[in-house]
Assembly symmetry: C2
Homo-oligomer: 426 residues x 2
Amino acid sequence: MESATTSKPHVVIVGAGFGGLQAAQHLGDKPVRVTVIDRTNHHLFQPLLYQVATAALSPADIAAPIRGVLGQFTNIEVILAEVAGVDVADKTVNLGDQRIAYDYLILATGSRHSYFGHDEWEKLAPGLKSLEDAVEIRRRLLMAFEYAEKITDPKARAAAMTFAIIGGGPTGVELAGAISEIARYTLARDFRHINPSDARVILIEGEPRVLAGFPEDLSASALRQLQSLGVEVRTGVHATNLTDEGLDVQGQFIPCRVKIWAAGNNASFVGKTLGVPVDRSGRVLVNDDLTIPGHPEVQVLGDLANFPHQTGEPLPGVSPVAIQQGRHAAQNVLTMLEGRKPERFWYWDKGSMATIGRNKAVADLKFVHFSGLPAWLAWLFVHVVFLVGFRNRIAVLLQWAWAYFTFNKGARLITRNFQAEQRPPA
Amino acid sequence: MESATTSKPHVVIVGAGFGGLQAAQHLGDKPVRVTVIDRTNHHLFQPLLYQVATAALSPADIAAPIRGVLGQFTNIEVILAEVAGVDVADKTVNLGDQRIAYDYLILATGSRHSYFGHDEWEKLAPGLKSLEDAVEIRRRLLMAFEYAEKITDPKARAAAMTFAIIGGGPTGVELAGAISEIARYTLARDFRHINPSDARVILIEGEPRVLAGFPEDLSASALRQLQSLGVEVRTGVHATNLTDEGLDVQGQFIPCRVKIWAAGNNASFVGKTLGVPVDRSGRVLVNDDLTIPGHPEVQVLGDLANFPHQTGEPLPGVSPVAIQQGRHAAQNVLTMLEGRKPERFWYWDKGSMATIGRNKAVADLKFVHFSGLPAWLAWLFVHVVFLVGFRNRIAVLLQWAWAYFTFNKGARLITRNFQAEQRPPA
């Protein structure tokens, strides 16, 4: 089974998110040898991750094994490994115990949450980037209701049933809406000593409005839709002093057991190992063709790249940017192989959407703005169409239909950490 | 929401497995107050757990939130808690930080694996009882292939692709068959340096035949079906000296990375806190009406009970026994409430089945024995019908249909332990 194509140019793609996977698929069956490196074995459909965190979907519904997705392309090899850095002079990717030489490198290692210098807040307020994050947030949400049911002290009970989401971008808005819906509908009949719909959901946003990246009318609509679900929206304020017991907002202490972080990203550290300038959040300042200064064989894209050449502002860290850049970077490799120069990247912005709850969403399609049911249907359509893999699409649709008609959520599992709580690490 | 029925007799059910859940459902809307205590928030459809371990199903497909299942009964309360013991003199269940008084107790806390005095083997060869176990086994199976793909030493590669299942009962047979199928079909195109179908699957059973609880002709058929899938079946031998590197069978060392334990159970420790005789594996020796000596208000059932009154042998630890005993125990409570004595329990044995793979199974329906496709179809029918919850049934059917026609398995996720590997425990 050893590859017979070792003499072909070797393209290494690090990261199998939207950008990396798109690049790999574009290079499938092309006259190159491709190695895809990721630290997980699955591609994650991140826009639906909040649905795993809020018990609507299972991890496997929104994740596809990378080997499965790329298995049809015999010129592509997949390695499950953590990248320690890149040596651009030596043209190698360092995997710790191994170095992989490349002729062309496409770097798409994405971002993690940024706690603005308060790394100690991460355990108090986990963010939502991986399946593990989502399962942990699900556990905390469901455990909060279990705990509230068991205790009798009214203050402690109120704190257990207060949920703070820090950050009012799409992820924060989606989480706030979904948590409020779970409390009001899904858990309605489940408890005897608490009324789950007494839960307080507080959304905290530093900017003057939620969904600050959207047009103002849609921010206003999102605010109204959140409020109709009972979410308390606090804009223009910052959360400070996070503790186990709660957090401060404008000098006022809010007792609150579950806190979720949705307030900012830091680019993966791998960008910094390239030895070229990065911005404050660690994003690589790429050329207008996605290559890095002095190394046309290295391209950086997605959340890891700062691409200001189109609008003056960096392009946003959303999946359409990563997908279009992934395709472009792959095409650039093929172009360079033909002896031509890589081409400039142009982002085609088709608009953006955020969902808030059942029949509630906003959609900015540039030429027209939608709110409520039409936006929600548009959101549903786009997300089902783009969800990777036939099986996942059907499974997700089915569960959504079931949840829609019954107000039920199927994945209400509290699972514990196998190794830490049950037995010593293997 | 406080219950207004506090003057009614209080029935406490510990454990929401097949027996406990059945008992609770039988007491729903009856003139009693019921408290169900479980240490997880979900009822687990254990007969399909091996399908989670082998990436065919997701955890949520075979688990139903206990609160959701019992939410319709306003006389039933659910507590998520670990039981520390029972004080039969005081008629209380000890939850550590809390004591729950009962008028009637139904104890159904089940069993865990038994390592026959070698508890240190648990981390080397995990068993399969909980969702956490299943996800961990899935991780080890998939990681073994990832590891084999990365390394080049032929001996280490062979060890990584050797899978030992210790115990040839239904769980061991199901695991062996499923692992062999994954290697041969599901992963066929996924790797470039290994051929997954080179994997060795070894099933080790101490008795002279696999499925020793089944009639001999079906054991022989199961053996043939396993062998047709390439499983190496070793009967009449024991695994000894488990290490990270492998295990000994009849003095011969088998290099082997992944080992799975399916060889025996120990009853939950809670039975021992009753102060009545237990057998060698910790099962409570119950009276023929499921009560314990001297305490007709306490009944014990399922894997926690040793019930020898029907056949001379203890009834097997299978779900039909637990379900029938659960219903009987609930009925006994109602009988005692009417001032009558609890009634003797009779198990109606409808037969048993084990599946081996695609179109491969054995079924012992007492009056007739099936093998192969008919047994597999019977198995499919029974498991779908009994799977708790409409949504799960449809979701599972859909995934099975998809897997059947495509040889694909949808839940091939390697997920890591959030708390231990990503951040400090919260």
